[in-house]
Symmetry: none
Subunit: 209 residues, 2 copies
Amino acid sequence: MSEQRTHDMYPSMVVEDSQNVTRTIEPITIGRQLKAIRTANKLTLEEASKRTGLARSTLSKIENEQISPTFTVMQKLAHGLNIELPQLFTKPNNIRATGRRDITKIAQGRTHLTSTYEHELLATELSNKKMMPYKSRVHARSFDDFGEWVRHQGEEFMLVLEGEIQLLTEFYEPASLKTGDSVYYDATMGHLVVSTSETDALILWVTAD
Amino acid sequence: MSEQRTHDMYPSMVVEDSQNVTRTIEPITIGRQLKAIRTANKLTLEEASKRTGLARSTLSKIENEQISPTFTVMQKLAHGLNIELPQLFTKPNNIRATGRRDITKIAQGRTHLTSTYEHELLATELSNKKMMPYKSRVHARSFDDFGEWVRHQGEEFMLVLEGEIQLLTEFYEPASLKTGDSVYYDATMGHLVVSTSETDALILWVTAD
DNA sequence: AAAAAAAGTTTCCTATAGGAAACTTTTTTA
DNA sequence: TAAAAAAGTTTCCTATAGGAAACTTTTTTT
């Protein structure tokens, strides 16, 4: 059979540097994805064949992009390999379309109201990813700069990139963090960050629902 | 053609209330889902045909579960109807139980040394968290220091804290990242990091399954 | 380093997906 | 409410997916 590519479904990987220069790199294919999953589980085609009920040759052809599997086959793959179906054709970023909230709006809302944070969203080219990373310059100096607690769905990981901050929370004593320190918490609890160094602190945030 | 169902991906859900009244909620099939999407957009088969580039008859057969569409066709559907591909076979309201959990923990490292990386796990006191953050000192200088690809479930966000690195991946060209640069990718793809600066680089990793 | 075994690919065939057009059903209009 | 138009289904055919087995390549064993 002639060499052909039946499908190219992945968005490109986005690399983002500190000057906001983004580079876009090559996409992935369903065949590669399947092969990656299979080899990650250290399965041979024969073993994968037994688990999925599909012929060895069929798996080989899918992996080599010689055929486009039917939905029925995709289901057998997902079930047999014990993965969620979208993993077969989705970069991590496409998987969970449900339950995502738009953090941009939250961030902009805050900034607009009180000018407490300056948010820089990262990896914005990738939609529906499980985690949302962003850097924030912290202008706020006290609770009063906010007026009320910030809270939202999900969990949050935070690391201080520059300066020193205090993490004020609804249920805990204020926590002082220096450059390099990090913290992990439930974002449904009221929380906010204030700079305690002379210059505004810079922090990295990663949230997941 | 005889009446047949090519695929039933969800079992019927039975809801039972306190009076023992049971309601059966229909499973989602790709055909039902497609029809729902098409009609919600007030499109005829003819119009949907034009948008997707698929024959009217093909759409009809898919909607009536007479055939199992190939992945290529599913892509055309998603693209033509302007939806995310998983919408074709996913229930819109997948509820994910998120128990309110143990909250704030200031990260304090627990180190783990290998010849290639020196990992400092963060927030180790919190179990069941959605994200796993850790800092790594990168000793490795080339692929050969590893011998094989690293891969695992989930998505990964990475930010360079000190030095310069190259992110080597199975499917992309090597990506060079300097201090402050970040990248987000699918960790099922083979990947590894090597230092390219004189001193070993320090990076932050956050993964989520 | 040759032989054997295992893993992967290709061939060849059958089953089924997808398209063109005929046919049927539903909706609109006179 | 009959005729016309539009929407949807089925038929029939061609293109392609999927399986069995032959073949090739890679890895292991002696």
